[in-house]
Each structure stands twice: as structure tokens, then as C-alpha cells.
């Protein structure tokens, strides 16, 4: 179980997260929706300590930390229980696809190299990149890079994978294949928190949808509840705007 309680975050004078609490059960897929600037990416980054929250508590499994006061050891411990998939992939530019996937295993988790290589190959095969082991990121397309990014996260067998708009930097024709891979990750029963604009993905895969706006959780519930019967006016407005823009989406 992952629980974030009362998280607050300010950038300068701008309050990005105003007292947000989120709870995710084991094996659940939670999709966070919301307009840009709603704080959804910041929430995700705070969970992985890529940003330092101003206050709040985080529980992952049996570990509980203070988001503001966590020490180096605690942060490293949390990061080793979580994995992050970035919007712009952030593959290590000086490492090949397979080295990218092995890095966390070998360096952070002290898995022996041969074993790590085996696991990394399996992960890359699984995302359909069995022929790209020794390619550098600069030699891969965006969709391929993001699949390496997913393999890199998945191979660590984390308690939760955090996806930060994993398809929004991709060319439209590559979005589908990447979403398919993420769906397959979900089917494995891994706990996931996904920030995305892909409504059909949310509807198909999510166990729970959270709608954020202006730094607060406006509404949360099952995809059916949120999409067909939103209670809040702000949710309704957001959904109608998105749906009118998204030709793939139909209820």
C-alpha cells in the first residue's frame, strides 16, 4: 500500500500542492488526470523525492517517512522501492539500452552482473526490443527510448512504478504501442500511479481515477463513476473539453 498524506508544495509564492492526500492499494492502477498546472506531476515527483515537499508524510509498505525531513538514507530507501518513468525518457545518454536497464540493478541493488544482464535482456525482450540491446539512446526512436525507460523501471521489481505523462513527448503514431506496453505492466499486477492525458487508457486500465485541479484532489472514484457520472462541475468541464479534443475517446 502507498499512502501520501497532507502533502504541500510551494514554488516561490505559487502554491502547487495544497494539502493533497492519496491512497493506493497493492496492485491498483491509479490514473491522475487534470489540466496542466494542476500539480499532478509535482505530486508524482514529490513521491520520488525529485522535488522536496514542504510538508506531508509518505508510506510505502511498512516504511513511513516525513516528506520534508527525510534523511539521505530514507530517501534512497524510498527510491529503491519505487521506479519512475519520465515524460522525456531521461535514458542515460552514455549507456546502451541494456546498460540503462542494468544500471539500477548492478549499481544500486548490487545484483551480480551476469544475473542483471539476464534480467535486463528478459525485460527488453518483453517490451519488444530484443534487437536493440547495444543501441545508444541517440540511436533509438522516441517510442523505443520510452520502452527502454519502462523496462528500466520494471526490471527493478519496485513496489510502485510512477509514470509521468509517459506518452506526451511521443509522435501520435507511437503513443498506442507505448500504452500497450504500460497496459501489460498493469496486467502483471504491479502497483502503478500514472499521470496522463490519455482518457481511453484511463478508462481501460485504471482501478481508480483521481481528478486534480489547482493543487487539490477535486474528485476520485472508479473510471465509470468519474467519466459517466462526475459529481463536480470542474471535473465535468475538464472532461467535456478533453473528450471534444480526443477523437479516440467514446463512451
Amino acid at each position: 500500500m502507498i499512502e501520501v498524506k497532507n502533502i504541500k508544495k510551494e514554488f516561490g509564492k505559487h502554491l502547487v500542492l495544497k494539502d493533497v492526500s492519496v491512497k493506493v492499494e497493492d496492485g491498483q492502477v491509479v490514473v491522475i488526470l487534470g489540466p496542466s498546472g494542476s500539480g499532478k506531476t509535482t505530486l508524482l515527483r514529490c513521491i520520488n523525492f525529485l522535488e522536496n515537499a514542504d510538508s506531508g508524510r509518505l508510506t510505502i509498505g511498512d516504511t513511513e517517512v516525513d516528506l520534508k525531513r527525510a534523511g539521505k538514507k530514507e530517501i534512497l530507501n524510498i527510491r529503491r522501492k519505487t521506479a519512475f518513468v519520465f515524460q522525456n525518457y531521461n535514458l542515460f545518454a552514455n549507456k546502451t539500452a541494456i546498460e540503462n536497464v542494468m544500471e539500477g540493478l548492478v549499481t544500486a541493488r548490487r545484483v551480480p552482473k551476469a544475473k542483471a544482464r539476464e534480467q535486463a535482456e528478459e525485460a527488453l525482450n518483453w517490451v519488444g526490443l530484443s534487437d536493440r540491446y547495444d543501441y545508444y539512446p541517440a540511436q533509438l526512436s522516441g517510442g523505443q527510448q520510452q520502452r527502454v525507460g519502462i523496462a528500466r523501471a520494471f526490471v527493478l521489481d519496485p513496489e510502485v512504478i510512477l509514470f509521468d505523462e509517459p506518452t506526451s513527448a511521443l509522435d501520435p503514431e507511437l503513443v498506442g504501442e507505448t500504452l500497450d506496453i504500460i497496459k501489460r505492466v498493469a496486467e502483471k499486477g504491479i502497483t502503478m500511479i500514472v499521470v496522463t492525458h490519455e482518457m481511453s487508457f484511463a478508462q481501460d486500465v485504471a482501478d481508480k481515477v483521481i481528478f486534480m485541479d489547482g493543487g487539490v484532489v477535486v474528485e476520485e472514484g472508479t473510471p465509470e463513476a468519474i467519466f459517466s457520472n462526475p459529481r463536480e462541475e470542474r471535473t465535468r468541464q475538464f472532461l467535456s473539453r478533453i473528450i471534444s479534443l480526443d477523437p479516440n475517446y467514446s463512451i
Binding site: R79, F86, N90, L91, N94, G104, A108, A138, R152
Partner: protein, 236 residues
């Protein structure tokens, strides 16, 4: 036109005899510059409190000091104070026993630490912040991320600037003749004080330096290809 080829050749030989001194004046400061310079750049880029700002101030101010002026000052202090220092440390050596090439190496080292730290800082700043975050996200420690991810990516970016620094260092090493150290320039003009063929002497020195810097730049091209392999793009 007065140009005596025999004097030129003689000067060329004399200059080459003292080439090893120039090599020492370049190589030692280069090694010191690379190690301390990288350290300073990291301290500044990762914003270590207090030390980072102090080093920034030092580098900015020291880069305003011409090497020849710094050299004259260090040499002066060395000449005046070495005997006191040796006595204080109970060393049985006097200023006349010690080769002041070390003063030259000291001055060149300080300059090279500053300029190399700036080159490396620029290269570090050019690396996408996402690389640090990616390291964090797979559970690497800060040091692991720096050593395994950031520094390997910084090297190919820094190489062109570092080559400029090496070439600059080679050229700057010539100023030590101002405190009487014999290297390429002073060496090449040893025959000139007998023959008065100073023009030929300096022309010989120039040729040696020109060849030296050309070799360095040639090697740099090869090095760049080797370290930058991950930057190669299929679509180039």
C-alpha cells in the same frame, strides 16, 4: 633580408633540448588542473554551501590576474622567503639549491586549475537535469550518479574546451623565461646571445610550439571520437 638558416637550425636544436622542461611545465599543471578543476566544478555545480561561493569568487578573481604578473610575485616571494621557510622547517637547503622551475609549475597550476574548472563547469551545466533525476529514480546515490552517468557524459562535451586549455597552457608556459627558467624559448635563444641572431632564435622557438600545439590538436580529434561514441546518432 637577414635570415641565417644555420643559426635557425642551431636554435631549433637548443630549443628541443629544453623541450622536456616545457613538458614538465605543461604536464604537471595539467594533471593538477584536471583533478582540482573537476573537483571545484562539481562543488560549484552541485552548489555546496559556502565552499561553492568561495571557490566561485576565487576563480572569478584569479582569472583576472595575468600569468606573468602572478609569476613575478611568486618568484619574488620564493626568493625572499625560501630561506626563512627552510630554516623554520629545519631543512638544510637554501634558495640557491632549489630549482625555481617549481615556482613556474606552481603559477601555471593555479591558472590551469581555474580555467579547467570553468571548462568542466560549462560542460556539467550542459548536461540535462533529467540525467540526475534518472539516476535518483533507479536508486543510485548522488556520488554513483556523478561518477557513472554525469562525468562520462561531461567528458566529450568538455574536450574541445580542455584542448583549448592545454594549448593555452603550452603557450603560457613560455612566460617562465621571465624568471629565468630555461625552456623552449629561453633554450632556443641561448645561441642567439653569442650570434645576435635573436630573430632566428625566436623563429625556431615558434616552430617548435606550432608543431607541439598541432600534435595536441590532432590527438584531441582522435580522443573526441573515442569518448563520444554514445553521442553518435544514426541520423547524422
Amino acid at each position: 633580408m637577414n635570415f641565417n638558416l644555420d643559426h635557425f637550425k642551431e636554435s631549433l636544436i637548443y630549443g628541443l633540448i629544453y623541450l622536456p622542461n616545457t613538458l614538465r611545465l605543461v604536464f604537471i599543471p595539467l594533471v593538477i588542473g584536471l583533478s582540482l578543476g573537476t573537483l571545484i566544478a562539481l562543488v560549484r555545480v552541485y552548489k555546496v554551501p559556502v565552499i561553492g561561493s568561495l571557490l566561485a569568487l576565487f576563480v572569478t578573481v584569479y582569472q583576472g590576474v595575468p600569468i606573468v604578473v602572478a609569476l613575478m610575485i611568486y618568484n619574488l616571494i620564493f626568493m625572499l622567503k625560501f630561506n626563512d621557510l627552510a630554516a623554520f622547517l629545519h631543512l638544510k637547503s637554501e634558495v640557491s639549491d632549489v630549482n625555481n622551475i617549481w615556482v613556474g609549475i606552481f603559477a601555471l597550476s593555479l591558472t590551469s586549475v581555474c580555467s579547467i574548472s570553468e571548462a568542466i563547469r560549462g560542460a556539467l551545466l550542459s548536461i540535462d537535469k533529467g540525467q540526475n533525476e534518472a539516476g535518483d529514480s533507479v536508486g543510485l546515490t548522488k556520488v554513483q550518479t556523478i561518477v557513472r552517468i554525469i562525468i562520462p557524459q561531461m567528458i566529450p562535451v568538455a574536450i574541445p574546451m580542455l584542448i583549448n586549455n592545454v594549448v593555452g597552457l603550452i603557450k603560457a608556459s613560455s612566460v617562465v623565461m621571465a624568471i629565468g627558467i630555461v625552456e623552449i624559448v629561453a633554450g632556443a635563444t641561448i645561441p642567439s646571445s653569442r650570434t645576435y641572431a635573436f630573430f632566428e632564435g625566436y623563429a625556431a622557438a615558434a616552430m617548435i610550439y606550432w608543431a607541439f600545439t598541432a600534435v595536441v590538436e590532432g590527438l584531441a580529434q582522435k580522443l573526441k571520437k573515442y569518448t563520444g561514441k554514445f553521442r553518435r546518432n544514426l541520423y547524422d
